[in-house]
């Protein structure tokens, strides 16, 4: 049997809009994944530390503050500095289409889901993009 996928749902930045993060965390858990939720107001340093400590496959960043263009690259850089670039970074939130493209093209995020995405879509995407062998 394949092992369970481990996900860190992280809420960076100063805002407190955690509805999406919590719904996703619960949905992923109900889909059989092991989920850790960081809670609010996390710095990129705290997120990367938690990701490494929890030995996760995926970090999901929930950002609704408009700070995505600084936070995604920062998290990726810190993962690399810590030799943990194998951890996949994805995200969700109010991210304009152009920014989604830029973040994906720059390699700062594997995928970003915007409002209106179903839990099933996200679960399927993670299942088919994370190697659990």
């Amino acid at each position: 049997m394949a092992r369970k996928i481990r996900v860190l749902v992280a809420k960076p930045g100063l805002d407190g809009h955690d509805r999406g993060a919590r719904v996703i965390a619960r949905g992923l858990r109900d889909a059989g994944m092991e989920v850790v939720y960081t809670g609010l107001h996390q710095t990129p340093e705290q997120i990367v530390e938690a990701a490494i400590q929890e030995d996760v496959d995926v970090v999901g960043l929930s950002i609704l503050s408009g700070a995505h263009m600084t936070i995604f690259p920062r998290v990726c850089e810190l993962l690399k500095e810590n030799g943990a670039e194998d951890i996949m970074v994805m995200g969700g939130g109010t991210v304009p289409e152009d920014d989604v493209k830029e973040l994906k093209n720059g390699g700062w995020a594997k995928e970003i889901f915007t409002p209106g995405t179903t839990l099933e879509t996200i679960v399927e995407w993670i299942n088919s993009n994370v190697n659990t062998d």
Partner: protein, 552 residues
């Protein structure tokens, strides 16, 4: 009596024939999952006592509205929440809105300001001026209202944990314009309880936070008597995923907690309760929202009079601002958000709101553009001047459905009040994550219903436009703004009279450790151009910081 018998008999006959009809396969319930019948009749409101439960507008228990003549006296205030980038840019947006007929200002602050960090703090990185305006000191506040006479406009400021500081900055900006504090009108949100419950922008733990709030009550009653000292907010509770009943019950419970805190401080309830105001969400379920507003007024009036012994009718009146539901809007086909917003706005008006913000169609995607803000404001103007919705006071009163639903909302809210009491009150319930878990559960159920198409959202899970290309102009914030604002606050720190600032901050620290009212100390810090971050840091060192349990 015989008339009632007739109705019942008639109803039974109808039910029998109706039950043979085939209904669409659909779950008939409100957006909050409250089941609704297919028909309401006088039988559903048999116990309704007009004099006791409704009365006239402007009369206890204010179910029909807080003013005797409602919108014939004065229309609701059209108050669009705005603010971005720096004080200078926001100042221009305010002047634009005022020139287009808006009647009150509503300030949105950026996250660093909301969380008490100056623009040059490492935690502010990437967030300066993003979701609102960056205000670091009195200097920025002066710029924000430059050329806008503070004795002529009323200003609502969406600020909570650092509310006393931003409020003092506003008072001091008034002083600079020669406007005495007695003449200032407006609102600070200042509702810390809903921060712990839903919005999550807290700094200090609950007890010192409640002290700051009661300090504001006391200071305001003496020096800023026309100011609304708290806007007790259900908006964020709803946006976080609660049901309508939860929004109603948790918000009013917070209100009762503020009343009790004020009384515990030794204030007379009639000294501060008239300045408490409310802020509700207008979600998409039209009748449920109207019932919610009507129930809110009745519950508040009854509690204030009967439980807290308020004697002034002004204490009994629940006055409220409404904002249409951001969470009901979709990133898909954003233009149709205009329609959603219009229905929501109408429910707020039919529910008797005192002021209203209508969301812009593009708010799901980014900060609203000028064009979409204008459409949102025009939506209110159509409502006010074309639809006739403002002509008649509480026009849905007497509707069997609306009255039955109003009663139901009240009953369900009362059950929550009992539960909160059993748990030891609002602060204890927060500590037990009660509200947070209730809201998380409701949000999750809602999302599951949408995902499984048990709830239809046009453009999201039905009527999808596959070839959609979103063509909305998106307002971008120049990253240079952050650098400039950070440089400005650093310049200020070197230009000001640092001896005076240092003394003011020291005095604030000493007072925070004691029990004195902190407002005069904060005001002196503000006048000496201490920055927000410096004042918060002083208080953080004395009060500590709040941490929540991350449940989901």
């Amino acid at each position: 009596m015989s008339e009632k018998m007739d109705i019942r008999k008639n109803w039974e006959e109808w039910l029998e024939s109706r039950s043979k009809m085939t209904d669409r396969d659909f779950k008939y319930e409100t957006v909050s999952s409250l089941p609704v019948n297919d028909l309401y009749t006088p039988l559903d409101i048999e116990k309704l006592d007009y004099q006791k439960d409704l009365g006239m507008p402007g009369q206890y228990p204010y179910t029909r509205g807080v003013q005797g003549n409602m919108y014939r006296g004065r229309l609701w205030t059209m108050r669009q929440f705005a603010g971005f980038a720096t004080a200078r840019e926001s100042n221009q947006r305010y002047k634009y809105l005022l020139s287009r007929g808006q009647t009150g200002l509503s300030v949105a602050f950026d996250m660093p300001t909301i969380m008490g960090y100056d623009s040059d703090h490492p935690r502010s990185f990437g967030e300066v001026g993003r979701v609102g305006v960056a205000i670091d000191s009195l200097q920025d506040m002066e710029t924000l209202f430059d050329g806008i006479p503070l004795d002529k406009v009323s200003t609502s400021m969406t600020i909570n944990a650092p509310a006393p500081i931003l409020w003092c900055m506003y008072i001091a900006a008034g002083e600079k314009q020669g406007v005495p504090s007695e003449k200032l009108t407006g609102t600070i949100q200042n509702d810390i309880l809903k921060e712990y419950i839903a919005q999550k922008s807290w700094i200090f733990p609950p007890h010192p936070s409640m002290r700051l709030i009661t300090d504001i009550f006391e200071y305001s009653s003496r020096h800023v008597p026309k100011w609304n000292t708290v806007s007790i907010s259900g908006y964020h509770i709803r946006e976080a995923g609660s049901t309508a009943v939860q929004e109603l019950a948790f918000t009013l419970a917070d209100g009762f907690a503020y009343v009790e805190a004020g009384v515990a401080k030794g204030l007379d309830v009639d000294q501060f309760a008239p300045r408490l105001s409310f802020f509700f969400n207008a979600h998409i379920d039209f009748f449920e929202e109207i019932a919610k507003y009507r129930a809110a007024r009745r519950i508040w009036a009854r509690r204030l009079k009967e439980k807290y012994g308020a004697r002034s009718p002004k204490s009994w009146m629940l006055r409220f601002h409404t904002q249409t539901a951001g969470c009901s809007l979709t990133g898909q086909q954003p233009e149709i958000n205009i329609v959603r917003t219009a229905y929501e706005a109408m429910s707020a008006v039919l529910g008797g709101t005192q002021s209203l913000h209508t969301n812009s169609m593009d708010e799901v995607l980014a900060l609203p553009s000028e064009k979409s803000v204008q459409i949102a404001l025009r939506t209110q103007q159509i409502l006010a001047y074309e639809t006739g919705a403002a002509n008649v006071i509480d026009p849905l009163a007497g509707s069997y459905f609306v009255e039955a639903l109003t009663n139901k909302m009240e009953e369900e809210a009362e059950k929550y009040f009992e539960e909160i009491d059993r748990r030891g009150g609002v602060l204890a319930a927060i500590d037990q994550s009660f509200f947070q878990q209730e809201i998380a559960d409701a949000a999750y159920q809602y999302q599951r219903a949408v995902d499984k198409k048990k709830r239809i959202m046009v453009g999201v899970n039905e009527f999808i436009d596959e070839d959609e290309k979103i063509e909305i102009e998106i307002l971008k914030i120049d990253p240079q703004i952050e650098k400039d604002q950070a440089a400005r606050v650093q310049q200020l720190r070197s230009d000001r009279d640092n001896l005076r600032t240092g003394d003011a901050l020291d005095s604030l620290r000493k007072a925070a450790s004691g029990t004195e009212n902190l407002i005069p100390y904060i005001l002196e810090c503000v006048r000496s151009y201490a920055t927000e971050g410096e004042m918060i840091q002083v208080m953080r060192e004395v009060f500590g910081e709040f941490k929540e349990k991350p449940i989901f």
